[in-house]
């Protein structure tokens, strides 16, 4: 340990700062700009300022800023984990980095097949971004995943990927695939095609948002209960909501940690299943073979 150079340690500290400083900045921003809330108020993200854009103005909101925070933190984490990689006598963080890469690799290979092995980094990105975004609510910040626009963007990207892989056998084959079992089911197939990204986005967003809403509701209810039951206590003791201890923490573990990570996993699994399921692999390889034969003939 002592053999590590000063530079190495300095870079380490820089990376750790990359993980910690954005978080502190975000919390500070939240504390400074949060309007005093009275009672129950369930709203979307706060708008810091609005940039005029064509079609629709772009409001820069809490969820945008928090997404950026999560991304900077993840970048710092990646750099920290892969700092000072060695082939032997490896450190704990390298073990962790290798474990992450290998387990995501095997997850992708198991559920998508060898052909999609390159998807590993993309799935890891989804898992990390979604998971850490949901976990951000542990620090009191608004989780970006409770904004439909954020999750919607990911779902649109997944939709693009699904369509790209379905188009691999040519646009004609893609159009044909809608009348798959029987042609008159084509409208239903089109609806289900469009429903895929919508359902993915709403599932993720709804789960995280509902967790936040329930937490707020229960927190407010416990505050009221505390005021009525323990209001007789003298002085400032009566103002402390003692009943808010305990139950919200347990709920937070369920809604913020368990549900958030579960939704990240579900989103990643669905991505893998839709992309690999929509890709007509046998047909694609057949076409490829035929094309190669044609080329050989020429």
């Amino acid at each position: 340990m002592k053999s590590k150079s000063r530079l190495f340690k300095a870079v380490d500290i820089l990376y750790i700062c990359m993980m910690v400083v954005p978080l502190i900045c975000g919390i500070t921003l939240k504390v400074l700009t949060k309007p005093p809330s009275e009672g129950i108020s369930i709203t979307g993200a706060q708008i810091y300022f609005t940039i005029p854009m064509p079609i629709q103005d772009l409001p820069v909101t809490e969820s945008q800023v928090n997404s950026l925070i999560v991304m900077i933190m993840l970048l710092g984490l990646c750099l920290f984990l892969t700092h000072g990689l060695k082939t032997r006598d490896i450190s704990v963080r390298q073990h962790l980095a290798e474990w992450i890469v290998e387990s995501v690799d095997s997850l992708v290979k198991n559920s998508m097949g060898e052909y999609f092995a390159n998807f590993s980094a993309f799935i890891a990105a989804i898992l990390a971004l979604s998971g850490f975004s949901s976990l951000l609510s542990l620090t009191g910040l608004m989780p970006p995943t409770s904004d439909i626009n954020v999750v919607g963007g990911w779902a649109v990207l997944v939709f693009v990927l699904i369509t790209y892989y379905k188009m691999k056998c040519g646009p004609l084959q893609y159009v044909k695939s809608f009348g798959d079992p029987v042609p008159f089911l084509a409208p239903l197939n089109i609806i289900s095609e469009v429903a895929t990204p919508l359902s993915m986005a709403f599932r993720h967003y709804g789960n995280v948002l509902s967790g936040s809403v329930i937490s707020v509701l229960i927190g407010t209810a416990l505050q009221g209960l505390s005021r009525t039951v323990l209001g007789w206590l003298p002085g400032f003791l009566g103002d402390i909501p003692f009943l808010q201890l305990g139950l919200p923490a347990v709920l937070s573990i369920y809604f913020d940690v368990f549900s958030g990570l579960l939704q990240a996993y579900i989103f990643a699994m669905l991505t893998m299943m839709y992309v690999s399921g929509g890709f007509p692999m046998e047909l694609y390889f057949e076409r490829k073979k035929k094309k190669a034969e044609l080329k050989a003939k020429d």
Partner: protein, 168 residues
């Protein structure tokens, strides 16, 4: 400060979020996957190298062990042959010695026998002579006169010869 509605769809926000995910994908690829895969590949190569080295070392060790075993087997046979030679030599020498001893003993016995014979002969001669003298004296006394020793000597000799022969 304003807030958004709980559900408010904004095209640009969706695009930004899409871009964010793409960006994170490239970040993951460049800063997590590439270095880790690199180091894994490097380790694999090193392992291969070690395996090859270990196999070489094992083959070498086996070869030297075989050589030593061969040498050992050679030494064993050599020792065996030396021992056999020595045993043969010893047996031969022993036999020779025994034979020599036997011969010596035989010769000793032979000499002793001949000496005994000689002694016997000498004794016989001595007895003969004494008998002659005694018989001469006896005859002298019996006859009362002196007889010529030479006359009767031949007679007595013949007589004694007869006795000796009868004794044998």
């Amino acid at each position: 400060m304003q807030t958004l509605d709980v559900i408010s769809v904004n095209l640009w926000q969706i695009l930004i979020s899409l871009g964010n995910l793409c960006l994170l994908f490239f970040m993951m690829k460049k800063f997590l996957y590439k270095p880790v895969k690199n180091v894994l590949a490097k380790r694999q190569a090193e392992l291969e190298e070690h395996y090859v080295a270990a196999e070489n070392a094992e083959a070498e060790a086996k070869a030297s062990r075989d050589a030593w075993e061969e040498k050992l087997a050679g030494a064993q046979s050599e020792a065996d042959s030396i021992l056999k030679k020595a045993t043969d030599n010893a047996t031969y020498r022993g036999e020779q010695i025994v034979a020599g001893a036997k011969e010596q003993a035989d010769s000793i016995i032979r000499i002793a026998k001949s000496e005994a014979e000689l002694e016997k002969k000498k004794a016989e001669d001595g007895i003969k002579r004494e008998i002659v003298e005694i018989s001469g004296a006896l005859t002298e006394k019996m006859l009362g006169r002196e007889i010529k020793a030479e006359d009767h000597k031949a007679l007595i000799d013949a007589f004694i010869e007869d006795i000796g022969d009868g004794n044998d």
